[in-house]
Symmetry: C2
């Protein structure tokens, strides 16, 4: 089955905004095991749209169209679709009533211009839009009457199934899931149902992850994909089955097996962030946290406080960028700074312990290092970073040698520090990340 996604709108062609509907529609097609073959974007222009509809009908079996269903004169999708394939527009009374009802619910009278949204090409099926004014449309276009771009075509015969959906993401998402996907599944031969999930891991490189999972006995029809989203690596189990329920069950079982194998390397699933997961653990265990940041410059505090309600467990932090701030605000001894330098194991430890004491928190993490691109020396090169964790049980410090740019060295350091808090709360080891370009020096 060949699928094509068409998005319509002048604003999409300037490249200033990301066309997220396109990605969404292609991703949802994958749940029916359908790969999108063409993405096409064109302007709100009659001739251009007709061109695009004709090309799509000639080469694709399923055509998803987003946008151009509004009430204004720029909204041309339905008119041009009917025109292109020589169809009349007919009034759909139930849609007109629904439109009137929609406006009545908001205590407003429907403008005459909105009536346009109740007209559809003859033979089209109307798709309800319970959360907006623009209904969708399904239209089957027989390919026999069409002349393809090259005259004779391999894909001639059969038909192209057009689905027109509103461009408003919320409405598009609902219509795609509830109305379009089931119709594709019943009208077109669907090879299999597909369900996928995304397990977030931190602390292991992609190839090591692959290696670790090689002999997990996943249910038949389940494949693993891997995605890197710095500083994390994600595992993506994809389950295929003859029914949606069976695919769901296979996926659940796979996630269970993967979590069993990976243990604390998995910190979350789907949309969960490391800082939100860590915050939830702190809250559940009634523990508080403070931070002492040098090279991360406030990033750990910023990440932790991005989660609403973080004031329950996050007491605060010190960004000790200059040495005298490390002394004045964290009590790092001046002699220690002189002897070992700011980027050193004892200073990292003293920073964490200083923060823990001054904020009176159960836990404290500290970072000190050289993020780059300048500031390194032969003895202390760019990327040399220390992370420390202080708790009632004492302090632990690790030396890292990172090899990314400034931004990613800082981001990775912040992630390690937050992950240490999570691991500490879970009673897991604080082993260093086995990431591609992190080396442990000692």
């Amino acid at each position: 089955m060949k699928a094509e996604v068409l998005t319509i709108g002048d604003e999409l062609l300037r490249g200033e905004i990301t066309d997220s509907n396109k990605s969404f529609l292609s991703e949802r097609l994958l749940t029916l095991d359908v790969e999108t073959r063409f993405h096409v974007t064109c302007a709100d222009d009659r001739a251009d749209m007709a061109d695009v509809f004709r090309c799509a009908a000639a080469r694709s079996d399923v055509v998803l169209v987003s946008g151009g269903l509004g009430p204004t004169r720029d909204d041309l999708t339905i008119e041009v679709l009917a025109d292109t394939f020589g169809l009349e527009l007919v009034l759909h009374e139930p849609s007109l009533e629904a439109l009137r009802g929609f406006f009545a619910r908001f205590g407003r009278e429907m403008a005459a211009i909105n009536e346009k949204q109740a007209w559809f090409p003859e033979g089209a099926e109307v798709l309800d839009n319970p959360i907006g004014t623009a209904p969708g449309t399904m239209l089957e276009v027989p390919r026999d009457g069409l002349q393809g771009a090259e005259g004779e075509r391999s894909s001639s015969g059969g038909s192209a199934l057009f689905f027109c959906m509103p461009g408003v993401p919320r409405e598009l998402h609902k219509m795609m899931d509830e109305q379009v996907l089931p119709r594709i599944a019943s009208r077109r031969r669907v090879a299999s149902w597909v369900r996928a999930s995304l397990l977030h891991t931190f602390g292991i490189g992609e190839s090591n992850l692959d290696e670790m999972l090689r002999d997990v006995a996943l249910p038949e029809g389940v494949e693993l994909g891997f995605r890197t989203q710095f500083p994390d690596n994600h595992v993506r189990p994809v389950a295929r089955a003859a029914s949606a329920a069976e695919a769901d069950a296979k996926l659940a079982r796979s996630c269970e097996l993967l979590r069993e194998r990976l243990g604390a390397l998995v910190y979350g699933e789907g949309e969960e962030t490391l800082e939100a997961v860590t915050g939830r653990l702190l809250r559940e265990r009634g523990k508080t946290l403070s931070v002492a940041e040098s090279c991360t410059g406030g990033m750990i505090g910023e990440l932790l406080t991005a989660t609403p309600g973080s004031s329950v467990y996050f007491k605060g932090g010190v960004v000790a960028y200059w040495n005298d701030a490390k002394t004045a605000l964290l009590g790092v001894p001046d002699a220690m700074l002189k002897q070992h330098g700011a980027v050193s194991e004892p200073v990292a430890r003293a920073m964490a312990e200083g923060a823990r004491a001054r904020f009176g928190s159960d836990l404290a993490v500290a970072t000190t290092g050289i993020a780059g691109p300048t500031g390194g020396s032969a003895e202390k090169p760019v990327g040399l970073i220390y992370v420390a964790l202080a708790s009632a049980a004492g302090s632990q410090v690790r030396e890292l040698q990172l090899a990314f740019d400034r931004e990613r060295n800082r981001r990775l350091t912040a992630q390690i520090a937050i992950d240490w808090v999570r691991r500490h709360l879970l009673g897991a080891s604080l082993d260093l990340p086995r990431l591609g370009r992190v080396e442990r020096k000692s």
Copy 2:
């Protein structure tokens, strides 16, 4: 002139990565006043690519193709292009020599597979690629032999000018600017040369900005656009002229006039960030800065230290999330917190003064407020935020009532604090932002 941009690659259709070449090419076409009419993406598949090339040749005058020029068997652009329009491939000896030279420079022998990159459709012009192995191609395809998708076409006759460029962004950018744009300009009637810039403003809403600039006497042929990129608003002067030099001159004059009118509201141009501009001012004037953050949670420190070399002027900060941290680390009197609450004018002032004293910095900024979505009360609603600036000349505090979500309330607060430092250093007023949804309560 109708222009079309084609990008080729399986990975682009899954929506996992952003297809930045597409935006780049459309943006560069605008410098010749050419709007892109179609964006098309297809997989590395012979039949699909042929389909796409045929549709493009039938409807567009200029077709920019990115990707598929590599040496592997997945790289099909040139072969399919020749095939589609019934052309033979011929060996281009100078390209073969250039390829051999390229490998020789790296001390490697050229693999047989790379020879493929020296073959081009008959009649094509080869475009040098001085920084990669894949040369580009310009091919003029007469439209007369083509049958459009609808048989007879309004745009029939004439020809479509194809430009194939490597998908590697660095190589694509260079080839587009140095070889493709001049050829389009000489082969196609270019209406005008266009030059544009982007002035970053902070502290004024889009409609006020428009209003303020209404009577600026810009040179003829210059238009203004406006773009919002939270928390900033950008002004985009676009200059059109009969030559590139004339367009450059008009643009420079426009920027001058706009800066004159807007004064300190403009903080930078092009890629400049507020924190980098503010850092440069601190460095130039030999001043140091510290911060005391409550609701921004470390974001100001994080933004300031994202700029390499910021340790010259940024001494550090305190993230005082809990009240006892405000007392212990910034010396905010306990009685003041009890009397006025943490979110109050006296506490913001005491935080800034406390940071300035403890860090021994020339300047200090402080933030305290309720970022939301919870934590507000009737007296102190969500969005109530205080920003303070302390200097040798004394302290200034302002009360804000922001009406965004947590993330944007925090981001806007951080931007206001950094902008105050910039304005203080410039001797400009610390007037509150006249942004759409910021209200000044007192």
